[in-house]
Amino acid sequence: MEGNLNLTLKIWRQKNAQTAGKFETYQVSGISEDMSFLEMIDVLNNRLIEEGDDPVAFDHDCREGICGMCSMYINGRPHGPNKGVTTCQLHMRSFSDGQTITIEPWRAEAFPVIKDLVVNRSAFDRIIAAGGFISVNTGNAQDANSLPIPKDNADDAFAAAACIGCGACVAACKNASAMLFTSAKISQLALLPQGQAERAKRAEAMVAQMDEEGFGACSNTGACEAECPKGISLENIARMNREYFSSVFTSK
């Protein structure tokens, strides 16, 4: 897949969490505009391996924009310049010949760099484990229509559940806040009947864990919503505020 894009890449290289990193500059040429951003990095890595150098470490899995593994802070924006896409779905046609592209890992106290562009996002897993679940008995699934759910609620819950946990919200936020993520995970359950039993406890536990992990507070800039590849709405953060305080002020 030969193309005609020649690019200068400034990539953050960091051996591990203990050592300090720095930018390295690489030239790539003959990049096709039909390649995804990750395929462009693959081209660079092939060359680095052939030259006996250490390839650039980066997270990726499905490369279909649904798993939430890919990250990369590209030219000052999480997942690059396009709206509503993850880095794997960002194509090189969004860049121009001769352009310099700066690629950094997500930067947050709660997301320590593991290597190069790979960060540890297990803080998100611990927020989920703190309360982002429902307790149900195993066995056959009950009839889908046995619990009436208003269509609006189902739609809002589904929209919140579209969060893939990639961490772009944290990366975009000037305070490295995880409010959009946490609020989406609280909302998707708070809106449905199955989520009612643990509803009050959930908000308090997940917010406490979010603070514990070292994420910042919300300045309501809206940067998270604007950069979220899944279009998670700020309404979820407002809902989290309601869920949290109604629990704080009424729980026994």
């Binding site: 300045s219 800039t221 940067a223 700020l234």
Partner: protein, 222 residues
């Protein structure tokens, strides 16, 4: 009460405190701006002076003044605490940040705008609050209106006040609607109206306040 201090010290609690104190200050600005705008009645400051005297003597207003300083102090301290906490959350800064692509500059600069406002407020309190409450300089011959005229003869002071009003306008432009979001009030029915009222409020308050030193300096009102 451990539950209350714990939740008010959480990331959400700090924002709740910011929102409540912020909206309280918003309500104060309406009274302050409304009373001061009576100088535009062109009655030589008669209505304004009468209003100022009422405010100075009414026991309810005197009590509210203490509450106001308390609210202001809480707003400042909580803002300072949020700013200090938040800047620790990204120990390694990005080399390139395209903030304009996803948010408004003033929404990302509330701490800076707040600091400018605080500096302005110190000057402003020295000019008028200190003069009228803590000195004996206020007389029948030299009213608060006369003092305003005297203070605003200096073009430097007028410039500081106009810059203070611009900072206030941008601070309110983000702060007003942001407070409702922090309170959890985000709803398709109300949010567009809140944002609209917030923008109108910020512009009207800032423009009215800025017009006062300008009008007095250039003798546009009598």
């Amino acid at each position: 009460m451990a539950w209350l201090s714990k939740s008010l010290n959480s990331s959400l609690g700090k924002k709740l405190l910011m929102a409540i104190t912020g909206l309280f200050l918003v309500s104060f600005l309406i009274v302050h701006c409304g009373l001061n705008a009576t100088i535009f009645l062109n009655d030589g400051g008669a209505t304004f002076n009468a209003g100022a005297e009422f405010m100075a003597k009414n026991p309810i207003i005197r009590t509210m003044e203490i509450v106001l300083f308390g609210g202001l102090l809480l707003h400042i301290l909580d803002g300072l605490r949020l700013w200090m906490d938040n800047k620790k959350k990204r120990p390694v800064a990005y080399a390139v940040v395209d903030g304009a692509a996803n948010s408004k500059w003033y929404s990302r600069s509330m701490g800076l705008l707040g600091t400018l406002l605080l500096l302005f407020l110190i000057i402003h309190l020295k000019h008028f609050w200190y003069f009228s409450r803590l000195t004996d300089n206020l007389t029948e011959e030299h009213t608060l209106y006369h003092e305003m005229q005297a203070v605003f003869t200096s073009p430097v002071v007028v410039a500081i006040y106009v810059l203070g009003c611009i900072s206030l306008g941008y601070h309110l432009l983000h702060g007003f609607q942001s407070a409702f979001q922090s309170l959890g009030w985000n709803h398709p029915k109300y949010t567009p109206t809140i944002k609209c009222i917030g923008a109108a409020y910020a512009i009207i308050i800032a423009a009215l306040f800025a017009a006062m030193p300008i009008a007095l300096h250039f003798n546009l009102i009598h």
